[in-house]
């Protein structure tokens, strides 16, 4: 249910129609051309079904498929062009990667250094173990100002903790000011992309959403992106000029100076960071960089990877409070929420190097087809597939997040574009191994198959016998040479692909015939 103008109250995922409801599904908001995809779940890092189930539904959404294909191909081309013009791109990636690795190993000292420097400049630092604690801190800070409205800069971490819903329960309305976040919020939806949360929407859907939900959209609004953006400008301007409290995330926090950075395009970030009296910034403890000078690396890597620009239009850097300029009250909330747990895994922790550029989403062939909602987390795509399960841990074998590390073909496109060189394919495999190991006590079909295959392949004699037994496939294939239909679970293959029958002669049989026919004793040698 919406409270007013689309501001959401918390809903349980269980009351929803199965995952992403198709347009027009009863029970969701019905507009001529759009419907809420994923209403706000209880757990922003774990909603809905397993990845394969959610993907199955997403794949059937023609509009989504088209929107995603268009958007991801556009941004891929932009990124490739601006990265291509940097002669030392690989050296910058090396620097980004090694700096982040040092941040992880030095994190305790760096956090204390950051705290010291922010405090010295008039900021107040808070620490939150989890989402509930962070939400409590922020809610109390807002209440202390006496305000019932806040403006927000787009922030993944506040999505992660469900801050807007927590504020709403306490009677505080949070207004998202990033255009895409505004679209998502008005539609009572969840983001489907780290950078472009409304990437699953096209212009005509956005027009419908504005007309229905914005309240002050011009009635003659067309679907031209320029007109839509101007409608958002007009809608938000009054909010910006009157807001007393703003909430932001942070792209970087510089330990040696206490400086925070927000990287943005529209100017909504500057509005929120500059005009209100009180600024509350929530950031994950991993978003540190050691020195101010390190900005020369990350500000080179992030915009080109993210929006495909040489530099984003606006970056704001502030350190504590500057008398007479900007908010005179500044709070920084440092959030753990599973990060220290991820840090304890010395392979998996590389996921914490992420600077949230979203380049891996844009190049991922899986993401391109199923979109962000199928991942059931505010962090979708390849990075989400390694970050989400580490942040949440596993609640057991029915945890849908267990399916995330398998949501990849290991094609490696994500690693190629990652500005901090997170070896995502290797991490996916690592997390698969963790999943398998935690489930070892339980017999599964996969486990049995893998154990059997291991047994067979550990000894050549067994493998050869298995090859001969495979002659049975020739029966399945009949005279066509191809198997066109197998019962479940083989049908998962043969629904779309034929399977060849095994040849009459394996390679090793051919080799024995060809190379050792005259002298069986020399099997294994060349002729």
């Amino acid at each position: 249910m919406s409270t007013f103008l689309g501001f959401p109250t918390r809903r349980g995922a269980k009351s929803l129609p199965d995952g992403g409801a198709p347009p027009g599904t009863p029970g969701t908001t019905v507009g001529p051309g759009w419907a809420t995809d994923v209403p706000h779940p209880d757990a922003p890092l774990r909603w809905g079904e397993t990845f394969p189930e959610a993907a199955r539904q997403a794949l059937q959404n023609t509009q989504l498929r088209r929107n995603l294909a268009h958007a991801t191909s556009t941004i891929r081309a932009k990124r490739a062009a601006v990265v291509g013009e940097v002669p030392d791109w690989e050296e910058l990636r090396d620097a980004g990667s090694t700096i982040k690795a040092h941040v992880m190993s030095d994190l305790p000292q760096l956090l204390e250094e950051l705290e010291r420097n922010v405090t010295a400049r008039g900021g107040v630092v808070h620490w939150a173990r989890d989402a509930a604690e962070a939400n409590r801190i922020v809610t109390d800070l807002v209440k202390a100002t006496g305000e019932t409205e806040v403006v927000k800069v787009k922030s993944m971490v506040t999505q992660e903790i469900g801050l807007n819903e927590a504020l709403a329960e306490e009677g505080i309305a949070a207004f998202e000011t990033d255009l895409a976040e505004l679209i998502v919020q008005l539609a009572d939806d969840m983001p489907s992309h780290i950078l472009v949360p409304a990437i699953h929407r096209n212009r005509s859907e956005i027009r419908e959403i504005f007309l229905e939900r914005m309240g002050d959209a011009p009635p003659d609004l067309t679907d031209a992106p320029r007109e839509l953006a101007m409608a958002a400008r007009a809608h938000l301007r009054r909010k910006f000029l009157s807001a007393k409290v703003a909430i932001s995330g942070a792209n970087f926090a510089v330990a040696d100076t206490g400086t925070l950075a927000v990287v943005e395009s529209e100017g909504n970030g500057r509005m929120c960071l500059t005009l209100p009296e009180t600024l509350i910034t929530v950031m994950g403890i991993e978003k540190l960089i050691p020195t101010y000078q390190d900005l020369e690396v990350f500000m080179a890597l992030l915009p080109r990877s993210s929006t495909g620009e040489r530099m984003n239009p606006y970056t704001s850097l502030w350190t504590g409070v500057t008398p007479g300029d900007g908010p005179q009250e500044f709070h920084l909330v440092l959030l753990d929420n599973g990060r220290s747990k991820a840090l304890a895994d010395d392979v998996g922790r590389a996921a914490l190097h992420c600077i949230r550029c979203s380049a891996c989403l844009n190049v991922c062939p899986v993401y391109e087809r199923v979109g962000g909602h199928a991942y059931g987390s505010v962090y979708p795509g390849p990075i989400g597939a390694i970050l989400t399960p580490q942040l949440t841990g596993s609640t057991g074998r029915s945890d849908p997040n267990n399916s995330l590390p398998y949501a990849s073909t290991l094609c490696g496109a994500c690693y190629d574009v990652c500005p901090v060189k997170i070896d995502i394919p290797t991490l996916l495999v690592h997390l698969r191994a963790r999943d398998v190991d935690q489930d070892r006590g339980r017999p599964t079909a996969w486990g049995a198959a893998m154990k059997a295959a291991s047994f067979v392949m550990a000894k050549p004699g067994r493998f050869e016998l298995a090859e001969k037994a495979g002659g049975v496939t020739r029966v399945l294939g009949g005279s066509t040479g191809r198997i066109t239909s197998l019962p479940f679970p083989g049908s998962r293959w043969t629904d779309a692909r034929d399977l060849p029958v095994l040849p009459k002669q394996s390679f090793r049989e051919w080799w024995a015939d060809e190379h050792t026919a005259s002298d069986p004793e020399t099997t294994g040698d060349a002729r």
Binding site: E90, V366, V429, P460, F463, G470, R492, R497, W511
Partner: protein
């Protein structure tokens, strides 16, 4: 770790591990009189995109073939063609029959414990290469080469099998995907093949991004006499196979496969080729299902083809089909 973006060697930390280790092995194992391994290892150490042929090298090189489990059982034409090609070029090919599989399937599905005995078998099978029995190991698969190079040692070490891991790493340094062997080690791009057909090439993900063969397969194909090589649109996109991905996420896999097949069809090619039979099984399975008439052939099959012994079969009688692709 996977290969680095712009370099053909591996990622940061392990980069040095690889180089140092291969030097160590070269020193420990003087190798055969021809000193081929030492040169080959030197070539690996300072790999760049364009390798020069090894100076002073002359055939025959003694090459052990890792046929791969999938090709051994299902697509014997690929290792057969590899043997014929290398023998035609004057080299000695060995097939150590103890071999089964590199363990990739187990590793990529997360069954590390189960992968170890498979890797052990692979390592034991090819260990004689470290004693100079063979000069190089060839694998007609980018994916299996990638697993040998980037996964075997890691999995062994995680299981506490340090020595096995070290040996696996040493063997990996002598292991080449087919196009790497031909171009980097043997210094060839024209292998004297004849293949008068319209062909398009799919650069499989692991060849492209895990071991970074670059344009070596294309250079080999361009030199084939009579070939009509056409570019595949969206070539670098994954076909959706991903090993068990095709089963665990079969519908997403199918969506990716559909786009790949559309691109293949748009080229008008008779033959889709690649350096991996796993991907060819996937795309070929789809092409067969839709009766497109496009056939799949391994890169080795095209390179093995000559005017006298063509590998292209215009049509297969159903009964005689080795493998309907």
């Amino acid at each position: 770790m996977w290969s680095d973006h712009s370099r053909s060697m591996v990622y940061s930390g392990s980069d040095t591990v690889w180089s140092d280790h291969s030097r160590l092995i070269a020193e420990q194992n003087p190798g055969p009189a021809r000193a081929m391994p030492r040169q080959a290892l030197a070539a690996r150490r300072d790999q760049t995109e364009s390798h020069r042929p090894l100076p002073g090298w002359s055939p025959p090189v003694r090459i052990a073939l890792a046929a791969t489990c999938i090709a051994d059982a299902m697509f014997p034409q690929a290792p057969q063609a590899t043997v014929r090609l290398l023998e035609r070029l004057g080299h000695q090919v060995y097939f150590p029959e103890q071999q089964t599989c590199c363990g990739q399937m187990h590793v990529n599905t997360g069954y590390f414990d189960e992968a170890v005995p498979v890797i052990r078998n692979h390592v034991e099978t090819f260990a004689p290469a470290l004693d100079g029995e063979w000069d190089a190991i060839v694998v007609p698969s980018g994916s299996c080469t990638g697993s040998i190079r980037h996964q075997q040692a890691m999995v062994c070490r995680r299981a506490g099998q340090e020595r096995l891991g070290a040996t696996a790493e040493a063997l990996a340094a002598k292991t080449y995907e087919l196009s790497e062997l031909l171009v980097d080690v043997l210094g060839l791009t024209d292998v004297g093949a004849h293949f008068p057909h319209r062909v398009t090439y799919h650069p499989t993900c692991h060849s492209l991004r895990m071991i970074r063969v670059g344009d070596k397969p294309l250079r080999l194909l361009r030199a084939v006499e009579g070939i009509d090589l056409v570019e595949l649109p969206g070539a670098e996109s994954c076909c959706g196979f991903g090993g068990t991905f095709a089963l665990k996420n079969s519908e997403t896999s199918t969506a990716m496969l559909g786009d790949k097949m559309t691109n293949v069809k748009s080229t008008g090619a008779e033959v889709l080729t690649a350096g991996d039979y796993s991907c060819l099984m996937h795309i070929g399975g789809g092409l067969s299902k839709l009766r497109t008439g496009v056939r799949t052939m391994h890169l080795a099959e095209i390179l093995a083809s000559t005017q006298d012994a063509p590998t292209f079969e215009p049509a297969r009688s159903d009964d005689e089909t080795e493998a309907a692709r």
